[in-house]
């Protein structure tokens, strides 16, 4: 029996759906600020916490948020992991560090990469700053912030950020 006469065991069904994606009002505003080189969160009218990235609501209070508050660009690493395995859609030299960063003025950590620092030297409590892409490349996107890098400031004690884990 030739190979093509083998019984059919599987079929391939390609699927492609196209969308015109809109992210909503709050995300648009957030990304427009990013385009201007600013990280702008929103303060909840009820609990006064500052959310970053701004998503138009305080998920805890379930109310719409409006008031804008600029945060960062410096922050504190609350926790992190060292990635030693390649992932779908991620093109970075291994190993690299992915961290939760509590930006100064924000009340919720932001996910970002740490670079310009050996993975072994990344610490919980380490102070970092945002490294932006060249201004000419800025667009309404998270990618304007390439990564964060260490700054010469003393580590923040664990007690001061442990509620953000």
């Amino acid at each position: 029996m030739s190979e093509e006469k083998q019984p059919v065991k599987s079929i391939v069904t390609p699927s492609r759906l196209e969308y015109d994606f809109t992210p909503g009002i709050a995300t648009t505003r957030f990304l427009r600020h990013m385009q201007e080189g600013r990280i702008v969160g929103q303060r909840c009218t009820k609990c006064a916490k500052v959310y970053i990235p701004a998503r138009g609501s305080c998920p805890r209070c379930g109310v719409a948020t409006e008031e804008e508050v600029e945060v960062g660009p410096n922050g504190t690493v609350t926790t992190f992991c060292v990635v030693r395995v390649p992932s779908e859609n991620i093109d970075l030299t291994l190993p690299y560090t992915a961290a939760h960063i509590l930006l100064d003025g924000a009340d919720i950590p932001f996910f970002a990469l740490i670079q310009e620092c050996d993975a072994a030297d990344v610490r919980m409590g380490m102070r970092v700053e945002a490294v932006w892409a060249p201004e000419a490349e800025w667009g309404p996107t998270f990618e304007n912030i390439r990564y964060f890098r260490p700054i010469d400031e003393p580590d923040v004690p664990f007690e001061d950020f442990k509620e953000h884990l």
């Binding site: 019984p7 059919v8 079929i11 069904t13 390609p14 699927s15 009002i25 648009t28 505003r29 427009r32």
Partner: protein
């Protein structure tokens, strides 16, 4: 943000695209294998009904089905619609009919396209025969479509 700024809302194209590879099991596997050879089979349930396309279970009781029988290849249209403006994913790129077709020897109708040229050529009860694809791969699309039996 006020309403007049709504034009400034961001938007971008987004695609969900994947070529799913589906294992088909023994019954649909046999159906597709036969289609590749330009033959059509159905499955027979315990109460004697012949289902086309074949199902690995009896849809009214859920019990398993494994008897395979030959059907068609010609059949009769039981209902149809005329697609004058085909979509990107439709099997034909010119006006055609989608039809439910009960193949000779089958008790249920299967869905496929009928290339009839014009809706005036379509009617419920009409006889249709398969047109096979030149490059069969073992799928429902090995049946390129059906066409009217008369005037072929």
């Amino acid at each position: 943000m006020s309403d007049d700024q709504s034009a400034a809302i961001l938007s971008a194209p987004h695609a969900l695209e994947y070529a799913y590879k589906r294992s088909v099991g023994p019954v649909l596997g046999r159906f597709f294998t036969e289609l590749r050879d330009h033959k059509i089979v159905g499955s027979r349930t315990s109460d004697g009904r012949v289902l086309v396309p074949p199902m690995e279970y009896d849809p009214s009781t859920g019990s398993g089905v494994d008897e395979i029988v030959s059907v068609g290849p010609a059949g009769r249209v039981t209902s149809w619609c005329w697609v004058s403006d085909p979509l990107r994913n439709h099997p034909l790129d010119r006006p055609f009919a989608f039809a439910l077709i009960r193949l000779d020897g089958a008790d249920t109708a299967m869905l496929h396209a009928v290339d009839a040229g014009d809706p005036s050529k379509m009617s419920t009860g009409m006889r249709v025969v398969p047109r096979w694809c030149d490059d069969p791969k073992g799928s429902i699309l090995d049946l390129a479509c059906f066409e009217p039996e008369e005037g072929r």
